[in-house]
Symmetry: C2
Subunit: 236 residues, 2 copies
DNA sequence: CGATCGATTGAGCCCTCTCAAGAGAGGTGG
DNA sequence: CCACCTCTCTTGAGAGGGCTCAATCGATCG
Protein backbone atom coordinates (compact mmCIF):
# COMPACT_ATOMS: atom_id res chain seq x y z
CA UNK A 1 0.00 0.00 0.00
CA UNK A 2 1.32 3.40 -0.92
CA UNK A 3 2.10 5.76 1.91
CA UNK A 4 -0.33 8.63 2.20
CA UNK A 5 1.04 11.98 1.17
CA UNK A 6 1.46 14.13 4.26
CA UNK A 7 1.13 17.39 2.37
CA UNK A 8 -2.41 16.54 1.32
CA UNK A 9 -3.73 16.44 4.82
CA UNK A 10 -1.44 18.63 6.90
CA UNK A 11 -3.81 21.58 6.62
CA UNK A 12 -6.91 19.80 7.86
CA UNK A 13 -8.55 21.11 11.04
CA UNK A 14 -8.42 17.64 12.58
CA UNK A 15 -4.63 17.76 12.51
CA UNK A 16 -4.11 21.36 13.59
CA UNK A 17 -1.24 21.77 16.03
CA UNK A 18 0.53 18.53 15.09
CA UNK A 19 4.02 18.57 13.65
CA UNK A 20 5.08 16.64 10.56
CA UNK A 21 6.45 13.65 12.45
CA UNK A 22 3.31 13.29 14.54
CA UNK A 23 1.09 13.60 11.53
CA UNK A 24 3.15 10.99 9.76
CA UNK A 25 2.80 8.57 12.65
CA UNK A 26 -0.97 9.02 12.66
CA UNK A 27 -1.24 8.57 8.92
CA UNK A 28 0.70 5.32 9.17
CA UNK A 29 -2.33 3.81 10.79
CA UNK A 30 -4.81 4.90 8.17
CA UNK A 31 -5.98 3.02 5.15
CA UNK A 32 -7.09 4.81 2.04
CA UNK A 33 -10.30 3.60 0.40
CA UNK A 34 -12.13 4.39 -2.79
CA UNK A 35 -15.90 4.50 -2.51
CA UNK A 36 -17.89 4.29 -5.73
CA UNK A 37 -20.70 6.72 -6.39
CA UNK A 38 -23.87 5.67 -4.54
CA UNK A 39 -22.00 3.12 -2.44
CA UNK A 40 -22.23 3.43 1.33
CA UNK A 41 -19.26 4.03 3.59
CA UNK A 42 -21.18 2.76 6.59
CA UNK A 43 -24.76 2.11 7.56
CA UNK A 44 -26.87 3.45 10.41
CA UNK A 45 -26.90 0.98 13.30
CA UNK A 46 -23.75 -0.81 12.16
CA UNK A 47 -20.95 -1.19 14.65
CA UNK A 48 -18.68 1.84 14.50
CA UNK A 49 -15.53 0.04 13.41
CA UNK A 50 -13.79 3.06 11.83
CA UNK A 51 -13.66 6.80 11.64
CA UNK A 52 -12.91 8.70 8.46
CA UNK A 53 -11.54 11.76 6.74
CA UNK A 54 -12.85 12.55 3.28
CA UNK A 55 -10.07 13.29 0.79
CA UNK A 56 -12.01 13.62 -2.47
CA UNK A 57 -15.66 13.54 -3.43
CA UNK A 58 -18.80 14.12 -1.38
CA UNK A 59 -20.61 12.02 1.20
CA UNK A 60 -24.19 12.37 2.37
CA UNK A 61 -25.02 11.47 5.97
CA UNK A 62 -28.67 10.57 6.47
CA UNK A 63 -30.87 9.10 9.16
CA UNK A 64 -33.78 6.76 8.57
CA UNK A 65 -36.71 6.75 10.97
CA UNK A 66 -38.55 3.72 12.28
CA UNK A 67 -41.28 4.53 9.77
CA UNK A 68 -38.75 4.44 6.94
CA UNK A 69 -38.54 8.16 6.25
CA UNK A 70 -35.12 9.58 5.51
CA UNK A 71 -33.65 12.88 6.64
CA UNK A 72 -30.37 14.26 5.35
CA UNK A 73 -28.15 15.15 8.28
CA UNK A 74 -25.42 16.87 6.29
CA UNK A 75 -23.14 16.74 3.29
CA UNK A 76 -19.48 16.05 3.97
CA UNK A 77 -16.93 17.81 1.79
CA UNK A 78 -13.24 17.13 1.17
CA UNK A 79 -11.10 17.61 4.27
CA UNK A 80 -13.89 16.96 6.75
CA UNK A 81 -13.90 14.10 9.19
CA UNK A 82 -16.97 11.91 9.63
CA UNK A 83 -18.05 8.71 11.29
CA UNK A 84 -16.50 9.84 14.56
CA UNK A 85 -19.04 7.84 16.57
CA UNK A 86 -16.40 6.38 18.88
CA UNK A 87 -15.06 9.79 19.82
CA UNK A 88 -18.47 10.90 21.04
CA UNK A 89 -19.07 7.69 22.96
CA UNK A 90 -21.27 5.79 20.50
CA UNK A 91 -20.83 2.11 19.74
CA UNK A 92 -22.84 2.30 16.53
CA UNK A 93 -23.14 4.77 13.68
CA UNK A 94 -26.14 7.02 14.18
CA UNK A 95 -26.56 7.61 10.44
CA UNK A 96 -25.75 6.15 7.05
CA UNK A 97 -22.91 7.66 4.99
CA UNK A 98 -23.28 7.40 1.23
CA UNK A 99 -20.87 8.63 -1.45
CA UNK A 100 -22.76 10.92 -3.82
CA UNK A 101 -19.70 11.09 -6.07
CA UNK A 102 -16.79 8.73 -6.54
CA UNK A 103 -14.92 9.46 -3.33
CA UNK A 104 -11.69 8.72 -1.51
CA UNK A 105 -11.50 8.43 2.27
CA UNK A 106 -8.90 7.79 4.91
CA UNK A 107 -10.06 5.26 7.49
CA UNK A 108 -8.73 4.54 10.97
CA UNK A 109 -9.95 1.70 13.15
CA UNK A 110 -12.10 3.09 15.96
CA UNK A 111 -10.07 1.00 18.37
CA UNK A 112 -7.08 3.25 17.65
CA UNK A 113 -8.93 6.39 18.75
CA UNK A 114 -8.38 6.17 22.52
CA UNK A 115 -4.67 5.57 22.07
CA UNK A 116 -4.28 8.31 19.46
CA UNK A 117 -6.12 10.79 21.66
CA UNK A 118 -3.99 9.91 24.65
CA UNK A 119 -0.85 10.39 22.60
CA UNK A 120 -1.95 13.48 20.67
CA UNK A 121 -4.33 15.54 22.81
CA UNK A 122 -4.82 18.01 19.97
CA UNK A 123 -6.98 15.41 18.28
CA UNK A 124 -9.51 15.69 21.09
CA UNK A 125 -9.61 19.48 21.17
CA UNK A 126 -9.75 19.68 17.37
CA UNK A 127 -12.59 17.18 17.24
CA UNK A 128 -14.35 19.05 20.01
CA UNK A 129 -14.26 22.19 17.88
CA UNK A 130 -15.58 20.29 14.87
CA UNK A 131 -18.40 18.61 16.75
CA UNK A 132 -19.20 21.92 18.41
CA UNK A 133 -19.57 23.71 15.13
CA UNK A 134 -21.79 20.93 13.83
CA UNK A 135 -23.93 21.41 16.91
CA UNK A 136 -24.20 25.11 16.09
CA UNK A 137 -25.19 24.33 12.51
CA UNK A 138 -27.80 21.86 13.65
CA UNK A 139 -29.22 24.41 16.08
CA UNK A 140 -29.43 26.88 13.23
CA UNK A 141 -31.40 24.31 11.32
CA UNK A 142 -33.79 23.81 14.24
CA UNK A 143 -34.29 27.56 14.50
CA UNK A 144 -34.99 27.81 10.77
CA UNK A 145 -37.46 24.94 10.85
CA UNK A 146 -39.19 26.55 13.83
CA UNK A 147 -39.48 30.05 12.48
CA UNK A 148 -39.32 30.07 8.69
CA UNK A 149 -41.54 28.96 5.86
CA UNK A 150 -40.49 26.31 3.39
CA UNK A 151 -39.46 28.81 0.73
CA UNK A 152 -36.99 30.52 3.06
CA UNK A 153 -35.58 27.23 4.27
CA UNK A 154 -34.99 25.91 0.77
CA UNK A 155 -33.33 29.16 -0.28
CA UNK A 156 -31.05 29.02 2.77
CA UNK A 157 -30.21 25.39 2.05
CA UNK A 158 -29.19 26.17 -1.53
CA UNK A 159 -27.07 29.12 -0.42
CA UNK A 160 -25.30 27.02 2.18
CA UNK A 161 -24.65 24.21 -0.29
CA UNK A 162 -23.27 26.72 -2.77
CA UNK A 163 -21.04 28.30 -0.17
CA UNK A 164 -19.70 24.97 1.07
CA UNK A 165 -19.45 23.13 -2.21
CA UNK A 166 -19.96 25.72 -4.91
CA UNK A 167 -18.01 25.80 -8.12
CA UNK A 168 -17.92 28.92 -10.28
CA UNK A 169 -19.32 28.27 -13.72
CA UNK A 170 -20.22 30.44 -16.67
CA UNK A 171 -23.66 31.47 -15.41
CA UNK A 172 -23.13 31.52 -11.69
CA UNK A 173 -22.26 29.04 -8.97
CA UNK A 174 -22.98 25.36 -9.40
CA UNK A 175 -23.45 22.94 -6.53
CA UNK A 176 -20.52 20.62 -7.05
CA UNK A 177 -22.19 17.25 -6.67
CA UNK A 178 -25.37 15.51 -7.82
CA UNK A 179 -28.33 16.55 -5.69
CA UNK A 180 -31.98 15.81 -6.31
CA UNK A 181 -35.18 17.61 -5.35
CA UNK A 182 -35.77 14.77 -2.96
CA UNK A 183 -32.41 15.38 -1.25
CA UNK A 184 -33.22 19.04 -0.75
CA UNK A 185 -36.64 18.11 0.61
CA UNK A 186 -34.98 15.81 3.13
CA UNK A 187 -32.65 18.61 4.21
CA UNK A 188 -35.41 21.14 4.73
CA UNK A 189 -38.27 19.09 6.11
CA UNK A 190 -40.58 19.32 3.14
CA UNK A 191 -41.59 17.19 0.13
CA UNK A 192 -39.93 16.80 -3.24
CA UNK A 193 -43.08 18.21 -4.82
CA UNK A 194 -42.84 21.47 -2.96
CA UNK A 195 -39.13 21.76 -3.73
CA UNK A 196 -39.82 21.08 -7.39
CA UNK A 197 -42.48 23.78 -7.52
CA UNK A 198 -40.19 26.28 -5.80
CA UNK A 199 -37.23 25.58 -8.07
CA UNK A 200 -39.44 25.74 -11.16
CA UNK A 201 -40.64 29.16 -10.06
CA UNK A 202 -37.12 30.40 -9.37
CA UNK A 203 -35.92 29.07 -12.70
CA UNK A 204 -38.65 30.99 -14.52
CA UNK A 205 -37.60 34.13 -12.68
CA UNK A 206 -33.98 33.54 -13.71
CA UNK A 207 -32.66 33.05 -10.18
CA UNK A 208 -31.38 29.56 -10.85
CA UNK A 209 -30.76 27.13 -13.66
CA UNK A 210 -31.27 23.47 -12.99
CA UNK A 211 -31.53 20.01 -14.43
CA UNK A 212 -31.39 16.43 -13.34
CA UNK A 213 -29.53 16.45 -10.01
CA UNK A 214 -27.88 19.72 -10.98
CA UNK A 215 -28.42 23.25 -9.69
CA UNK A 216 -26.72 26.51 -10.67
CA UNK A 217 -27.36 29.67 -8.70
CA UNK A 218 -27.45 32.53 -11.19
CA UNK A 219 -28.49 35.31 -8.84
CA UNK A 220 -27.29 34.38 -5.34
CA UNK A 221 -28.04 37.86 -4.08
CA UNK A 222 -31.69 37.63 -5.04
CA UNK A 223 -31.86 34.26 -3.31
CA UNK A 224 -30.47 35.88 -0.17
CA UNK A 225 -33.28 38.42 -0.31
CA UNK A 226 -35.78 35.59 -0.67
CA UNK A 227 -34.18 33.66 2.16
CA UNK A 228 -34.45 36.59 4.52
CA UNK A 229 -37.96 37.52 3.58
CA UNK A 230 -40.54 37.49 6.35
CA UNK A 231 -43.96 35.99 5.58
CA UNK A 232 -45.52 39.42 5.44
CA UNK A 233 -42.90 40.81 3.06
CA UNK A 234 -44.47 39.52 -0.11
CA UNK A 235 -45.84 42.90 -1.03
CA UNK A 236 -42.30 44.14 -0.99
CA UNK B 1 -15.62 32.03 50.12
CA UNK B 2 -16.44 28.53 51.27
CA UNK B 3 -14.63 25.69 49.56
CA UNK B 4 -16.85 23.65 47.27
CA UNK B 5 -17.69 20.22 48.54
CA UNK B 6 -15.90 17.66 46.39
CA UNK B 7 -18.41 14.92 47.04
CA UNK B 8 -21.17 16.92 45.41
CA UNK B 9 -19.53 16.97 42.03
CA UNK B 10 -17.25 13.94 41.91
CA UNK B 11 -19.86 11.89 40.06
CA UNK B 12 -20.44 14.36 37.24
CA UNK B 13 -19.65 13.20 33.71
CA UNK B 14 -17.46 16.25 33.17
CA UNK B 15 -15.08 15.01 35.86
CA UNK B 16 -15.06 11.30 35.00
CA UNK B 17 -11.63 9.75 35.26
CA UNK B 18 -10.19 12.39 37.57
CA UNK B 19 -8.96 11.51 41.04
CA UNK B 20 -9.87 13.40 44.18
CA UNK B 21 -6.76 15.57 44.20
CA UNK B 22 -7.21 16.60 40.58
CA UNK B 23 -10.87 17.35 41.10
CA UNK B 24 -9.99 19.42 44.11
CA UNK B 25 -7.44 21.44 42.16
CA UNK B 26 -9.99 22.14 39.46
CA UNK B 27 -12.68 23.12 41.94
CA UNK B 28 -10.27 25.58 43.55
CA UNK B 29 -10.62 27.72 40.46
CA UNK B 30 -14.40 27.75 40.41
CA UNK B 31 -16.70 30.27 41.95
CA UNK B 32 -20.15 29.31 43.12
CA UNK B 33 -23.01 31.62 42.15
CA UNK B 34 -26.67 31.85 43.00
CA UNK B 35 -28.94 32.84 40.14
CA UNK B 36 -32.42 34.04 41.02
CA UNK B 37 -35.43 32.67 39.19
CA UNK B 38 -35.87 34.39 35.81
CA UNK B 39 -32.40 35.97 35.97
CA UNK B 40 -30.01 35.25 33.13
CA UNK B 41 -26.68 33.51 33.57
CA UNK B 42 -25.41 34.91 30.29
CA UNK B 43 -26.86 36.46 27.18
CA UNK B 44 -26.62 35.46 23.54
CA UNK B 45 -23.88 37.44 21.80
CA UNK B 46 -22.11 38.33 25.03
CA UNK B 47 -18.43 37.53 25.32
CA UNK B 48 -17.98 34.00 26.63
CA UNK B 49 -16.17 34.90 29.84
CA UNK B 50 -17.06 31.75 31.78
CA UNK B 51 -18.25 28.18 31.52
CA UNK B 52 -20.56 26.56 34.02
CA UNK B 53 -21.81 23.49 35.80
CA UNK B 54 -25.32 23.59 37.20
CA UNK B 55 -25.50 22.38 40.82
CA UNK B 56 -29.14 23.06 41.69
CA UNK B 57 -32.13 24.35 39.79
CA UNK B 58 -32.91 24.48 36.08
CA UNK B 59 -31.65 26.66 33.27
CA UNK B 60 -33.23 27.27 29.89
CA UNK B 61 -30.97 27.89 26.90
CA UNK B 62 -32.70 29.78 24.10
CA UNK B 63 -31.79 31.49 20.86
CA UNK B 64 -33.36 34.66 19.54
CA UNK B 65 -33.55 35.22 15.78
CA UNK B 66 -32.91 38.48 13.97
CA UNK B 67 -36.68 38.86 13.71
CA UNK B 68 -37.01 38.54 17.48
CA UNK B 69 -38.48 35.04 17.62
CA UNK B 70 -37.23 32.78 20.36
CA UNK B 71 -36.47 29.07 20.18
CA UNK B 72 -35.69 26.96 23.22
CA UNK B 73 -32.46 25.07 22.61
CA UNK B 74 -32.61 22.87 25.70
CA UNK B 75 -33.22 22.70 29.42
CA UNK B 76 -30.17 22.17 31.62
CA UNK B 77 -30.58 20.01 34.69
CA UNK B 78 -28.43 19.63 37.80
CA UNK B 79 -25.02 18.15 37.09
CA UNK B 80 -24.87 19.26 33.49
CA UNK B 81 -22.31 21.67 32.13
CA UNK B 82 -23.33 24.59 29.94
CA UNK B 83 -21.90 27.73 28.42
CA UNK B 84 -18.94 25.76 27.07
CA UNK B 85 -18.55 28.17 24.16
CA UNK B 86 -14.81 28.48 24.59
CA UNK B 87 -14.30 24.72 24.42
CA UNK B 88 -15.98 24.54 21.03
CA UNK B 89 -14.07 27.50 19.67
CA UNK B 90 -16.62 30.28 20.10
CA UNK B 91 -15.77 33.72 21.41
CA UNK B 92 -19.37 34.55 22.24
CA UNK B 93 -22.31 32.69 23.69
CA UNK B 94 -24.58 31.39 20.94
CA UNK B 95 -27.65 31.44 23.19
CA UNK B 96 -29.07 33.01 26.32
CA UNK B 97 -29.13 31.00 29.56
CA UNK B 98 -31.94 31.84 31.96
CA UNK B 99 -32.63 30.30 35.36
CA UNK B 100 -36.21 29.02 35.41
CA UNK B 101 -35.87 28.24 39.10
CA UNK B 102 -33.62 29.63 41.79
CA UNK B 103 -30.37 27.97 40.77
CA UNK B 104 -26.78 27.48 41.86
CA UNK B 105 -23.92 27.20 39.39
CA UNK B 106 -20.19 26.69 39.46
CA UNK B 107 -18.36 29.09 37.16
CA UNK B 108 -14.85 28.94 35.75
CA UNK B 109 -13.25 31.72 33.73
CA UNK B 110 -13.08 30.67 30.08
CA UNK B 111 -9.47 31.72 30.08
CA UNK B 112 -8.71 28.79 32.39
CA UNK B 113 -10.08 26.24 29.93
CA UNK B 114 -7.01 25.80 27.69
CA UNK B 115 -4.75 25.31 30.68
CA UNK B 116 -7.15 22.94 32.45
CA UNK B 117 -7.54 20.86 29.30
CA UNK B 118 -3.79 20.67 28.82
CA UNK B 119 -3.36 19.53 32.39
CA UNK B 120 -6.35 17.19 32.57
CA UNK B 121 -6.99 15.69 29.13
CA UNK B 122 -10.05 13.87 30.46
CA UNK B 123 -11.84 17.20 30.47
CA UNK B 124 -11.58 17.32 26.69
CA UNK B 125 -12.74 13.77 26.08
CA UNK B 126 -15.56 14.11 28.61
CA UNK B 127 -16.73 17.33 27.03
CA UNK B 128 -16.48 15.74 23.60
CA UNK B 129 -18.87 13.01 24.75
CA UNK B 130 -21.25 15.59 26.18
CA UNK B 131 -21.26 17.77 23.10
CA UNK B 132 -21.60 14.67 20.95
CA UNK B 133 -24.68 13.51 22.76
CA UNK B 134 -26.20 16.97 22.47
CA UNK B 135 -25.55 16.78 18.76
CA UNK B 136 -27.42 13.47 18.65
CA UNK B 137 -30.32 14.96 20.56
CA UNK B 138 -30.48 17.92 18.25
CA UNK B 139 -30.46 15.64 15.22
CA UNK B 140 -33.34 13.72 16.76
CA UNK B 141 -35.18 16.99 17.03
CA UNK B 142 -34.52 17.80 13.37
CA UNK B 143 -35.78 14.38 12.36
CA UNK B 144 -38.93 14.84 14.43
CA UNK B 145 -39.60 18.28 13.01
CA UNK B 146 -39.11 16.90 9.51
CA UNK B 147 -41.30 13.84 9.80
CA UNK B 148 -43.86 14.26 12.57
CA UNK B 149 -46.95 16.34 13.13
CA UNK B 150 -47.21 18.84 15.93
CA UNK B 151 -49.18 16.52 18.20
CA UNK B 152 -46.47 13.85 18.10
CA UNK B 153 -43.71 16.39 18.65
CA UNK B 154 -45.38 17.92 21.67
CA UNK B 155 -46.04 14.49 23.15
CA UNK B 156 -42.38 13.55 22.66
CA UNK B 157 -41.25 16.80 24.22
CA UNK B 158 -43.35 16.22 27.34
CA UNK B 159 -42.11 12.67 27.68
CA UNK B 160 -38.50 13.79 27.38
CA UNK B 161 -38.96 16.56 29.92
CA UNK B 162 -40.58 14.11 32.31
CA UNK B 163 -37.78 11.60 31.85
CA UNK B 164 -35.04 14.19 32.35
CA UNK B 165 -36.64 16.29 35.05
CA UNK B 166 -39.64 14.35 36.24
CA UNK B 167 -40.67 14.09 39.87
CA UNK B 168 -43.07 11.42 41.01
CA UNK B 169 -46.20 12.90 42.53
CA UNK B 170 -49.49 11.52 43.66
CA UNK B 171 -51.16 11.41 40.26
CA UNK B 172 -48.20 10.69 38.03
CA UNK B 173 -44.98 12.41 37.03
CA UNK B 174 -44.64 16.16 37.30
CA UNK B 175 -42.19 18.22 35.28
CA UNK B 176 -39.98 19.59 37.97
CA UNK B 177 -39.76 23.24 36.98
CA UNK B 178 -42.09 25.99 35.77
CA UNK B 179 -42.81 25.60 32.07
CA UNK B 180 -45.39 27.49 30.02
CA UNK B 181 -47.31 26.60 26.86
CA UNK B 182 -45.14 29.16 25.14
CA UNK B 183 -41.97 27.35 26.24
CA UNK B 184 -43.25 24.07 24.85
CA UNK B 185 -44.22 25.80 21.62
CA UNK B 186 -40.68 27.16 21.31
CA UNK B 187 -39.26 23.68 21.85
CA UNK B 188 -41.42 22.04 19.22
CA UNK B 189 -41.69 24.65 16.51
CA UNK B 190 -45.32 25.54 16.92
CA UNK B 191 -47.45 28.23 18.58
CA UNK B 192 -48.63 28.53 22.15
CA UNK B 193 -52.21 28.35 20.88
CA UNK B 194 -51.73 24.95 19.32
CA UNK B 195 -49.97 23.67 22.44
CA UNK B 196 -52.79 24.99 24.60
CA UNK B 197 -55.39 23.24 22.47
CA UNK B 198 -53.47 19.97 22.57
CA UNK B 199 -52.95 20.05 26.32
CA UNK B 200 -56.59 20.96 26.90
CA UNK B 201 -57.61 17.95 24.87
CA UNK B 202 -55.25 15.64 26.71
CA UNK B 203 -56.40 16.97 30.04
CA UNK B 204 -60.02 16.22 29.14
CA UNK B 205 -58.99 12.70 28.19
CA UNK B 206 -57.23 12.32 31.54
CA UNK B 207 -53.73 11.91 30.06
CA UNK B 208 -52.34 14.90 31.88
CA UNK B 209 -53.18 17.38 34.58
CA UNK B 210 -51.94 20.92 34.21
CA UNK B 211 -52.05 24.43 35.47
CA UNK B 212 -50.13 27.62 35.25
CA UNK B 213 -46.58 26.64 34.24
CA UNK B 214 -47.20 23.20 35.66
CA UNK B 215 -47.71 19.83 33.95
CA UNK B 216 -48.28 16.38 35.41
CA UNK B 217 -48.27 13.31 33.19
CA UNK B 218 -50.94 10.96 34.50
CA UNK B 219 -50.80 8.36 31.78
CA UNK B 220 -47.30 8.41 30.29
CA UNK B 221 -47.93 5.18 28.45
CA UNK B 222 -50.89 6.61 26.56
CA UNK B 223 -48.77 9.62 25.67
CA UNK B 224 -46.15 7.27 24.25
CA UNK B 225 -48.82 5.73 22.05
CA UNK B 226 -49.84 9.20 20.90
CA UNK B 227 -46.23 10.18 20.29
CA UNK B 228 -45.63 7.18 18.06
CA UNK B 229 -48.84 7.50 16.15
CA UNK B 230 -48.56 7.92 12.38
CA UNK B 231 -50.83 10.53 10.72
CA UNK B 232 -53.05 7.82 9.25
CA UNK B 233 -53.42 6.01 12.58
CA UNK B 234 -56.27 8.13 13.87
CA UNK B 235 -58.83 5.46 13.12
CA UNK B 236 -57.04 3.32 15.62
C1' DC C 1 -57.47 44.05 45.53
C1' DG C 2 -55.80 45.42 41.26
C1' DA C 3 -52.60 44.42 37.63
C1' DT C 4 -50.00 41.52 34.94
C1' DC C 5 -48.98 37.28 32.91
C1' DG C 6 -50.41 32.81 31.36
C1' DA C 7 -54.08 29.99 29.46
C1' DT C 8 -58.30 29.13 26.74
C1' DT C 9 -61.10 29.03 22.83
C1' DG C 10 -63.47 30.45 18.43
C1' DA C 11 -63.40 31.65 13.42
C1' DG C 12 -61.33 31.71 9.16
C1' DC C 13 -57.73 31.18 6.03
C1' DC C 14 -53.64 29.62 3.61
C1' DC C 15 -49.45 27.20 3.05
C1' DT C 16 -48.10 22.94 2.25
C1' DC C 17 -49.10 18.10 1.88
C1' DT C 18 -51.28 14.22 -0.45
C1' DC C 19 -52.82 11.95 -4.36
C1' DA C 20 -52.32 11.40 -9.19
C1' DA C 21 -50.57 11.31 -13.80
C1' DG C 22 -47.27 12.03 -17.14
C1' DA C 23 -42.98 13.63 -19.41
C1' DG C 24 -38.02 13.74 -19.98
C1' DA C 25 -33.31 12.16 -19.24
C1' DG C 26 -29.89 8.81 -18.74
C1' DG C 27 -28.20 4.38 -18.35
C1' DT C 28 -28.01 -0.43 -19.90
C1' DG C 29 -28.42 -4.66 -22.15
C1' DG C 30 -29.32 -7.07 -26.23
C1' DC D 1 -26.56 1.47 -31.61
C1' DC D 2 -31.09 1.30 -30.54
C1' DA D 3 -34.89 0.18 -27.48
C1' DC D 4 -36.31 -0.15 -23.17
C1' DC D 5 -36.48 0.81 -18.42
C1' DT D 6 -35.77 3.27 -14.44
C1' DC D 7 -35.15 7.33 -11.99
C1' DT D 8 -35.97 12.23 -11.65
C1' DC D 9 -38.72 15.99 -12.36
C1' DT D 10 -43.06 18.48 -13.37
C1' DT D 11 -47.63 19.94 -12.68
C1' DG D 12 -52.65 19.83 -11.40
C1' DA D 13 -56.43 19.34 -8.05
C1' DG D 14 -58.06 19.13 -3.63
C1' DA D 15 -57.89 18.81 1.28
C1' DG D 16 -56.50 19.79 5.88
C1' DG D 17 -53.38 20.79 9.76
C1' DG D 18 -51.91 24.43 12.02
C1' DC D 19 -51.40 29.48 11.99
C1' DT D 20 -53.25 34.15 12.59
C1' DC D 21 -56.30 37.23 14.60
C1' DA D 22 -59.20 38.25 18.38
C1' DA D 23 -61.38 38.25 22.75
C1' DT D 24 -61.94 36.55 27.36
C1' DC D 25 -60.93 34.19 31.47
C1' DG D 26 -58.23 32.90 35.47
C1' DA D 27 -54.52 32.91 38.59
C1' DT D 28 -50.62 34.67 40.93
C1' DC D 29 -48.14 38.33 42.98
C1' DG D 30 -47.14 42.71 44.80
Amino acid sequence: MATIDTSLVSQLPLFAGLDAAELDAILQEARSLRIAKNASVFEQGEEAHSFFVLLHGHVRASKTTAAGEQVVVRYVGPGESFGVAMAIGLQRYPATATAVDDSVVLAWPSSAWPRLVAQYPSLATNTLRTVGSRLQETHTRVVEMSTQQVEQRVAHALLRLAKQSGRKVENGVEIDFPISRQDIAQMTGTTLHTVSRLLSGWEQRGLIESGRQRIVLREPHKLVVLAEQTPGDNAR
